[in-house]
């Protein structure tokens, strides 16, 4: 479970990017975070990853109390979370297979498990036939699926995607979003997707949290519906 309580964040003194946030996300939920550019969505994901620290308030994720998590525990905390980046962040000198295996390698998973797990997750994102390709040989949508496989492979409890479709064509965006929804349904992991693509959000009929000027202005199920325009 993710629980923000009176959470605030300011990068500069008295200039709050997020103000007094109260938000609870239960295990297995699928949540869209929406809002204008500059609303504070990325800051929210950075707090979730403990890339940034809260200025005040509390943030609890499962057993971790992030407001007082010691630096040396941060790597172990991050292993509970899979991240999907807008710019993919794939290593160009590694193949698709190696990019995904890398995530297992660096947390010390034995080779035997790596050989079992990588093909399974590549097929889950429908990339089994591209295992030996390099990122430069892939389309944007394929790159994002590699990124997704890499985020999933350590079996994190939570998947966070900040504008995962920001660099993709609309039709590919739909595919990726669909994949995220399916992963949520199949694996039961919590999935948090930050986006500002209204039509996409409406299509999936999920919980939507709307942020404006650092505050939650709407939090309801079923997409934007007839809510105010963004």
């Amino acid at each position: 479970m993710i629980e923000f309580k009176n959470a605030s964040k300011s990068y500069k003194k008295n200039n709050y990017v997020l103000k007094n946030l109260n938000l609870t996300i239960n295990d297995g939920e699928f949540v869209f975070i929406v809002g204008h550019s500059g609303a504070g969505k990325t800051t929210l994901t950075k707090l979730l990853l403990r890339e940034e620290k809260l200025t005040s308030g509390t943030l609890h994720i499962d057993k971790y109390k992030l407001e007082r998590l010691r630096n040396f525990r941060v790597p172990y905390f991050r292993r509970q979370i899979g991240v999907v980046f807008q710019d993919f962040k794939l290593l160009d000198n590694k193949t698709v297979y190696e990019n995904v295996a890398f995530a297992l390698q660096i947390v010390g998973v034995p080779k035997k498990y790596i050989k079992e797990r990588v093909p399974y997750f590549l097929s889950l994102v429908e990339l089994a036939d591209k295992a030996n390709s390099f990122p430069s040989q892939l389309s944007g949508g394929e790159k994002q699926r590699v990124c997704l496989a890499r985020a999933l492979i350590n079996k994190p409890n939570i998947i966070i995607a900040d504008e995962p479709t920001g660099n993709l064509d609309p039709s590919l965006s739909y595919d990726i979003m669909n994949l995220l929804v399916r992963i949520n349904q199949i694996t039961g992991r919590t999935v948090i997707v930050v986006t500002h693509e209204k039509e996409l959000v409406n299509h999936f009929n999920k919980r939507v949290v709307m942020i404006e000027n650092g505050e939650i202005v709407a939090d309801k199920s079923g997409g934007y519906g007839n809510a105010q325009e963004i």
């Binding site: 630096n71 040396f72 790597p75 290593l91 890398f102 010390g108 034995p110 080779k111």
Partner: protein, 301 residues
Amino acid sequence: MRRRYSASYFLSTGVKSFFRNGFMSLAAIVILISAMLICGSFILVIMNIDYNIEQIDDFNEVVVFADLSATDEQVAAMQEKILQHPNVASCTIIPKEVSIKEESERYGEEHAHLFERYIENENENPLPDTLRIEYKDVNQLDTLENYLNTEVEGVYKVNIRKDIADNINQVKHVIMIICIVLTGLLLVVSLFIIGNTIKITLKSREKEITIMRYIGATNTFITLPFVVESAIVALISTLIAAFIQIYSYRYITEKIVAQYGIVETISVNQVWLYIIAGFALVSFVLCVFGTIVSTRRYMKA
């Protein structure tokens, strides 16, 4: 499931990065080797000077002349008094009868008649009794001289030949200062170059490190390949520098001994292990220090 980090990952990543940074790695190695060679050579020179000063000490002596009127008893009392000084190793009395004969021999047969008078008639002997002192420590000569001039009775004159030791000591001090300054400079430069090499590696691997941090790699895991990389630099530099130092030292000392018989040198057998150990210590400390300093900035959580 038990998690295990494979040593091969750190090794292969470190080795690859070492070769990818070919030029900077080479620069780091060259500068480290120069630093170690210069520093090592100076230390060897100083050690050899010290070694020779010890040898010269044996020839250095202090000579005390007693008053002409001093009796044998008084001279014996002087010897006793002199032997009480802590810096005195031995003190031998050379009676004036012996001195005058030595002097006569020094001038040779054809001048022997000039000395006959003094040798035959004790009271006409113009030479005083002499006390020859061997001291322990050349650096404590001043206090000994002072002691002889003020505390010992019946002293006519004290002769101290410490100029050789003094000169050598002065040269040694100058060399030492040059050595310290040069070594310091070179260490700073090497640290800078090693740090820069690591920074370039960090830059080229920034994306990789970012991903690693997001996925939950520990700082140790991220840093270890860099440590491996700089350990390779340290290892190669140590081996090359020690090889050059040991063989050139052997060559030079053999040449010097052949050329100038009087100069004694420390045998290469006595120093080669210290050279390797010293170089290894210096280069590894430098490299590890450089790595930690330059990676620390990237290692915040």
